[in-house]
C-alpha cells in the first residue's frame, strides 16, 4: 500500500510518500502507526504522540481503529489548519 505524509509528519519522516507491505497482524490504522514508529528514529519522532496524528484511507478521514485491509492509500498528517 502507498503511504502519504503531510506537514510536520512529512518533515520528521523525511519523505512525502512510500510503498510499504506491513506484516500480518498490522490490521488497523493504530497498528500501522505502532509498526511504523518502530522503523527508525525519524518514524518514532513523527509518531511519538499517536493521539494527535490524523489519518485518511483512500482520501477519507478515519479513526485509529479503522481496518487497513484493502486500503490502497493511507495518509498520515497533523490536525488540519486550513481556512
Amino acid at each position: 500500500m502507498k503511504l502519504l505524509y503531510f506537514a510536520w509528519v512529512r518533515e520528521r519522516i523525511g519523505k512525502t510518500e512510500e510503498d510499504i507491505d506491513p506484516p500480518e497482524g498490522v490490521a488497523t490504522v493504530g497498528d500501522l502507526i505502532g509498526w511504523l514508529a518502530g522503523r527508525g528514529e525519524e518514524y518514532a519522532h513523527a509518531f511519538e504522540n499517536p493521539k494527535i496524528i490524523r489519518a485518511a484511507i483512500d482520501r477519507a478521514h478515519v479513526k485509529a481503529d479503522a481496518a487497513i485491509g484493502g486500503a490502497r492509500e493511507v495518509a498520515f498528517f497533523p490536525p488540519m489548519t486550513g481556512g
Partner: protein, 157 residues
Amino acid sequence: MAATISLQAGPFDAGAEVTKLTRGRTDIGAVVTFTGICRGDENGAPIAALTLEHYPVMAEGEIARHVEEAQRRWSLLGTTIIHRYGRIAPGEDIVLVVTASSHRHDAFASAEFLMDYLKTRAPFWKHIEQAGGGTWVAAKSTDDAAADRWAQQGGTS
C-alpha cells in the same frame, strides 16, 4: 445546484466570483462572502509569509462533501469555494466562501458552516515563515468546538 470549487495557487477576485454567481439571476436575494486573509503577525511576532500544504484530491472531495451537506441543510441557490495553496504573503487572500440564497439566514448560516468545516476537516496545513525559521500553525481547540456545534445541531458530518 451547481457549486464551484477551486483549489489554486494563484489569487482570486472575490467581487468577480459574486458577479459570476448572481449575474442574470432574480431569484437570489442574499449573498454572503467570507474572505480569509493572511495576517502579518502570528502571536504578536511578524511573519514573512504562510505556505499552505494540501492533500489535493482529498481536499476537493472533503470540500465537495461539505458543500453537499450545506445544500441539504439550507436552501442555497449558489456556492463558490476557493482555497489557495503554496506561498501566500501577508495581506493576500487565502480562502473564499460565497453562498447565495433567497434570504439572508440561509446564506449566513451556510457560509459559517462551510468555513468552520474548512478549518478542521479540509486537509490543508499552514506553515509560517518568520525571521529565525519556520513553524507549523497549531490547530486550535476553538476551531474544533466551532465545527462540533454544527454536528450537535443535527448534521451527518
